[in-house]
């Protein structure tokens, strides 16, 4: 699921375990981080490779497409519902 436009990430803090795996796989040329060492929040990401969303062990990262009205969440795949957020 790779959106064709810029996205912006958010974190479900109750699911995040603070491991920074999301930052580790990020291909941005400069550290694309929040003050909590997660992927940068509410900041446009034009690469939109979604590696950060996928690598998260607890599916704590949600995202929205900036130009569209749809809000997707990879985490919806988890039967446990961790990280799930329907917009």
């Amino acid at each position: 699921m790779k959106p064709n436009r810029a996205v912006s990430f958010n974190i479900v803090w109750q699911a995040c375990i603070g491991c920074s795996a999301c930052v580790a796989v990020c291909p941005q040329p400069e550290p694309f981080v929040s003050p909590h060492d997660t992927i940068a929040l509410n900041t446009p990401c034009s690469i939109a490779c979604m590696r950060c969303v996928e690598v998260c062990p607890t599916s704590a990262i949600t995202f929205e497409r900036l130009a569209g009205v749809d809000i997707d969440t990879m985490a919806a795949k988890s039967p446990l519902g961790v990280g799930e957020r329907a917009g």
Partner: protein, 381 residues
């Protein structure tokens, strides 16, 4: 603003950084070790298993202070439950082969060793960037909220798999998702262990990785797994829940209560080809110094940290930090460890290239079973 002057600035006080700093300081260099955290080793992102060799290689005394449980060998399970047992007690070794350590205490212990060797340690200090000028590297460090400039000959990036130092130095191409294990583990009670590190392979349990059950001391165990997300549509947590409730091992977890949740990304990549730039060196996860077959990073970090620290110490007063001078570290690292890690990476890639899941599972089972054999040439990696 005052400038703090040292020979070596080490960024990140994990096992690799603290060991590098300790050996560099023992050689007489002025070393500053900074870490962004207020409590080292947290959040825990690691199972904490390491061999006695690893401690020897890193010059770390065996100490109750950080040990949670002894490990006497390995028990490797195939997807369906078949076992390969390498219990070194039955090979006549009475003392532990290794230990499961408390990462918080272990990292604190290593930082303490470094400071006792003369290293200055700053916690809650985050590096914000650097410039290179007049043969020195100037780091901007935000320490307890105020900015401080540190002048050094070399900055050692020991800042983990999400290394900013590596990124700024242009040494770190983005790690591929298929080379990154997404790991989660629970510390649990009511799960019996027998002093062995148990490894469970199988696409059904942990696609692209494996599951583990390790003794954690005090009647606790840790149950975890790592998956490669390009090989599964579910996250690590989902696989772990399924492993504990549906696998052949489920009865063992029937009364387990989850007491802690830990996890992280483990690079199962080939080591970076370039570990040095002008005034920059990389050690530990920052250089992807992780065993790509087992995901173990403690031994590689301790040993690599020692190679880096001893190399810096050997330069002594001649340390200028240009890339040409630091190249020697990279050569030594590859000769002593890197070539073996690269070969293990190739083995891992070959295993997961196998499309037939049964054959893939069997290959991984055999390879890991062999790996933990007392005669394995890699067991000390």
């Amino acid at each position: 603003m005052s400038v703090y002057d040292v020979d070596v600035l080490v960024v990140g006080s994990g096992p690799a950084g603290a060991t590098t700093a300790r050996y560099a300081a023992q050689g007489g260099l002025r070393v500053l070790l900074v870490d962004k955290k207020s409590e080292l080793g947290t959040p825990v992102e690691c199972s904490g298993a390491l061999s006695e060799h690893a401690l020897e290689d890193g010059g770390v005394p065996i100490d109750e202070e950080y040990i949670l449980a002894p490990a006497y060998g390995f028990l490797t399970y195939a997807a369906g439950g078949e076992q390969i047992r390498h219990d070194y007690r039955s090979y006549g070794r009475a003392k532990p082969l290794g230990y499961v350590v408390d990462r918080k205490r272990f990292d604190r212990y290593l930082s303490s060793l470094a400071s006792l060797a003369g290293v200055e340690v700053w916690l809650r200090s985050r590096m914000r960037g650097y410039i290179i000028e007049d043969g020195h590297i100037y780091a901007r460090i935000e320490r307890l909220g105020s900015e401080q400039t540190v002048r050094a000959r070399v900055i050692v990036g020991a800042d983990g798999v999400m290394s900013h130092v590596a990124l700024w130095a242009g040494l770190s191409p983005a790690i591929r998702l298929q080379d990154m294990a997404s790991c989660l583990q629970y510390i649990v009670n009511n799960v019996e262990t027998e002093g062995l590190l148990e490894i469970i392979v199988g696409q059904a349990h942990a696609p692209g990785g494996y599951a583990w059950v390790f003794p954690k001391g005090g009647g606790y165990a840790e149950v975890g797994l790592g998956v490669i997300r390009t090989m599964t549509e579910y996250d690590a947590r989902c696989h772990l829940e399924r492993f504990m409730s549906q696998s052949f091992m489920r009865d063992r977890f029937a009364h387990a209560n989850i007491l802690e949740v830990q996890g992280g990304g483990v690079p199962l990549a080939a080591p970076l080809k370039k570990l040095v730039a002008d005034h920059i060196m990389l050690v530990g996860d920052a250089g992807r110094h992780v065993n790509p077959l087992t995901g173990g990073g403690l031994h590689t970090s301790l040993r690599g940290g020692r190679i880096a620290g001893e190399y810096l110490a050997s330069l002594g007063g001649d340390l200028v930090g240009e890339m040409g001078q630091l190249q020697g570290y990279q050569e030594q690292w590859f000769a002593q460890m890197g070539d073996d890690l690269t070969s293990l990476y190739r083995q891992r890639v070959a295993i997961f290239k196998e499309r037939d899941i049964e054959r893939q599972d069997a290959l991984l089972f055999e390879t890991l079973g062999q790996y933990f054999n007392p005669h394995s040439k890699y067991r000390k990696v």
